[in-house]
């Protein structure tokens, strides 16, 4: 087990390094004129050159990357080139909002989609058709289109929810709930049906397994078979789909954050990439990838816990 975790962590780190380098290269080619953009139009040519040297822009790509990586290893992600805000604090003030949004959505999706998916698999009939139909509709309507509709109906017309976020670091739970509700719903509707459909097929696959028949023959109540045995065996498939959804959401939430003016990672990502604020972009990418790797590791661990065969080997 320990060696499994270590192996996964090692592979995670190698992925992290590769992605850092890849992003750094991309940014390297988009970082022309940065010193001028940072200093503004009135700075003299000498100032611009001095800034370029101060930022190390004149040095070759590899030197710059290794210096950045070396500092990052010591936990020093530098400061934003434009705002001088430390990268770590820029990210940590925004990460909670994005993570709350994504995690709340994923948890809601997991619960509702599991129940719907199981109902569709077991009962078939109308609920099955409903889930299948909803999955198509959910897939067809991009979440940001839904978000626009939600804003115009529930925030502008009915004034039930705020149209833009009122979240600040010191705001209370009510402000969070109010600001998060519409974005979460926009993310939910898109996710629930399609995940429910995946869970439905995983459950159907399990229901066809021989051991389910044997369990029934032993007089085990149907609910226990469903929720203890079938769900457990269908869970790895569901978890994998959910983890993919999570990764997708982490990126896709940018648009949702923009619509609701949520001060999350999305706006930071858009601004920093368009300006070429390398330390900030690298910070955003690194944090995102680390989260993705942790989630994948967690999913692997849970799958291992659910499936004793994996656990042992």
């Amino acid at each position: 087990m320990v060696s499994f975790i270590l192996k996964r962590i090692a592979s995670g780190i190698s992925v992290l390094v590769a992605i850092s380098f890849f992003t750094y290269c991309l940014l390297y080619f988009s970082s022309a004129n940065i010193a001028r953009n940072i200093l503004g139009e009135y700075a003299s040519q000498e100032q611009v050159q001095a800034k370029e040297i101060a930022l190390g822009l004149h040095r070759p790509l590899l030197t710059r990357f290794f210096e950045w990586a070396g500092n990052a290893l010591h936990g020093d992600f530098g400061v934003s080139w434009f705002t001088s805000e430390p990268v770590v604090s820029a990210i940590t003030t925004r990460l909670p909002i994005t993570l709350t949004l994504v995690i709340v959505s994923i948890v809601c999706i997991a619960i509702v989609a599991t129940l719907l998916g199981m109902a569709a698999a077991v009962k078939r009939g109308w609920i099955d058709r409903l889930v299948q139909g909803a999955a198509v509709v959910g897939d067809a309507i991009p979440d940001f289109v839904l978000a626009i509709v939600l804003v115009s109906v529930f925030a502008i017309t009915l004034k039930i929810f705020p149209a833009t976020s009122s979240i600040s670091p010191d705001s209370g739970a009510d402000a969070w709930a109010a600001s998060m509700t519409l974005p979460v719903i926009a993310l939910l509707i898109n996710g629930i049906a399609s995940i429910a459909q995946q869970i439905r097929s995983a459950v159907i696959k399990q229901l066809e397994r021989d051991y389910v028949r044997t369990l029934r023959s032993r007089g085990i109540p149907e609910w226990e078979i469903l929720f203890k045995h079938v769900l457990r065996s269908a869970a790895p498939a569901g978890l994998t789909v959910l983890s993919l959804k999570f990764v997708g959401m982490l990126g896709g939430v940018v648009i949702i954050e923009q619509i609701f003016a949520l001060p999350g990672m999305g706006a930071l990502a858009v601004q920093s990439t368009s300006m070429g604020d390398i330390p900030l972009v690298m910070g955003v990418v690194l944090y995102t990838v680390i989260i993705v790797i942790i989630v994948n590791l967690l999913v692997d661990l849970i799958n291992g816990w659910l499936n004793p065969k994996v656990r042992v080997s």
Partner: protein, 509 residues
């Protein structure tokens, strides 16, 4: 019996729905305000600040953020008059090259340091050295001398009619001498302003929260307990925030203004900017066609300004052929008839200039200019000119223009005092004259304005006529700034300023 999770699934859904509505209900009730006078002010800003360092301050949209924490030496009243702030009085010597300011002696900075002549000198010197965003404001400043602890004398290289105005803007902002030039001031400001920055409640790039400073020297400028400025770049988000009561005031545009008016918001319209195409490459360095004055004039004839104003801005503005505003003193009413809509004449001029088949012009574009550039593109193509738009990041727009990357560009420019305007777009040191075009006749006119003293506005009319006739620009309209506020607060719009200064807001009576 086969157990179906149908019932439990429905139960969970129902419970979730109840929980969600409950959350929503709770906040909408608490957000309701009420009858009492407002103690908080929330503004929407369409620009974010770079850092809190005063050398990064910039006229226009970002100033209110700086004004909350930094006092300026002189204050500009809503009608444009200059009134005492940290300087109680000021006067020029005879040849307008030395400005002497008397300073307050009862002011401290938020870190406890005392404001005095040395502090003021330190700020001005630092501003000049740092060459920040608005460095041009210190361009004419030669030296600053401490006369006595409460007096400074600023020596100018040459007369600068706008200098005292600059002291109300970025140049005049006073930060604690201990903080000047440090990295700390970039993220946490240290000034003498009416409010102090609440870093804990703020999120860089999203919202800035300020609380009333105790012991501030002028209680009349501290009208709220708490001021929040939210950075909302998206127009629809700004409109939504204003209409749903999340911000008290915001700058919109004519189209979204309709929605705000419908929702009972109070409009405050004023004309600040002119919009049009700046033809930079008048020497034809990267686009030879623009060197020909007939080509530039042809472009001016190509636009049906009235129709564009009506369709794109719902007539919120005035069409114009000149770049100086009516309040500036350099305005010449007759000039507005220089270039009526006449595509035939435009084609004829192009043919005369040797471009009967037109030519191609590349301009940069950003999301906010996409629609109007599409209109410009159409009108130019009607006379044979191909307008190519190149999407670039917002952040690079000004610096790319200033670096001379494009022969022309669509822009909104502030219509200020003649001397300010000349140094913004006409003189060889002007930012928006990237190719440093000059012409002896024009240079003489500019010189005259500089030394004109009280007569300088009148002399600026010559400059105006010159650049209009020579078609340095394609001015289109002076647009109404559509500033809206709700009824909880009173707002005094400020002359020639995109958004009101922070001092112009008060709780509604």
């Amino acid at each position: 019996m086969k157990f179906g999770p149908k019932s439990s699934a429905l139960a969970v859904l129902a419970a979730a729905a109840i929980a969600l509505t409950a959350c929503g209900g709770g906040t909408s009730a608490s957000g309701g305000g009420g009858g009492a006078a407002a103690t908080t002010l929330t503004l929407a800003s369409l620009q974010d600040l770079k850092t809190f360092d005063p050398t990064d301050a910039h006229i226009g949209h970002r100033m209110p953020i700086y004004q909350a924490v930094y006092d300026s030496l002189i204050r500009r009243a809503p009608d444009g008059k200059l009134v005492p702030m940290l300087a109680t009085e000021w006067s020029y010597n005879k040849d307008n090259t030395v400005l002497t300011l008397k300073l307050r002696t009862d002011v401290t900075f938020s870190d406890g340091a005392k404001f005095d002549a040395a502090a003021a000198k330190a700020n001005l010197d630092h501003f000049k050295a740092a060459k920040g965003t608005d460095a041009y404001q210190a361009a004419s400043m030669k030296s600053v001398d401490v006369v006595d602890p409460s007096t400074i004398a600023i020596t100018l290289n040459s007369p600068d009619p706008a200098f005292s105005y600059y002291l109300t803007q970025a140049l005049g902002l006073q930060a604690s001498p201990k903080a000047i030039g440090t990295d700390g001031i970039k993220t946490v400001p240290d000034g003498s302003g009416p409010y102090v920055y609440d870093a804990k409640s703020s999120v860089k790039g999203s919202q800035y929260v300020f609380t009333k400073r105790s012991g501030y020297w002028d209680k009349d400028l501290q009208k709220f307990d708490k001021v929040t400025i939210k950075y909302l770049v998206d127009l629809t988000a700004r409109t939504n925030a204003l209409v749903s009561g999340q911000v008290d005031a915001a700058l919109l545009d004519p189209k979204s203004g309709k929605q705000a008016e419908g929702a009972g918001m109070v409009p405050h319209k004023s004309q600040v900017d002119w919009q049009g195409i700046l033809l930079y490459d008048r020497d034809g360095k990267i686009n030879p066609a623009l060197a020909n004055v007939k080509v530039r004039q042809a472009m001016n004839y190509a636009f049906d300004r009235k129709t564009i104003l009506a369709q794109q801005y719902l007539n919120e503005g005035t069409v114009t052929d000149q770049v100086f505003g009516p309040e500036s003193g350099a305005y010449v009413p007759e000039l507005d008839n220089t270039y009526p809509y006449d595509p035939a004449k435009a084609k004829a001029l192009l043919a005369e200039a040797g471009y009967p088949k037109g030519f191609t012009l590349k301009i940069p574009t950003v999301a906010s200019y996409d629609p109007i550039n599409a209109v410009f593109k159409q009108q130019l193509s009607d006379v044979g000119i191909t307008l190519q738009t190149e999407s670039i990041p917002d952040a690079n727009y000004v610096s790319d223009m200033a670096a001379g990357k494009y022969a022309a560009a669509t822009f909104n420019l502030y219509q200020g005092e003649p001397w300010v305007a000349i140094n913004q777009m006409v003189s060889t040191t002007a930012l928006y004259n990237p190719f440093k075009n000059e012409d002896p006749e024009l240079t003489a006119m500019i010189k005259a304005v500089q030394n004109g003293g009280a007569n300088s506005a009148e002399l600026a009319k010559k400059v105006n006529e010159n650049v209009t006739k020579n078609a340095w620009f394609v001015p289109m309209f002076r647009l109404n700034q559509m500033y809206f506020s709700n009824k909880k607060i009173d707002v005094q719009p400020e002359l020639q300023q995109a958004v009101p200064s922070i001092y112009n807001y008060a709780p509604a009576k």
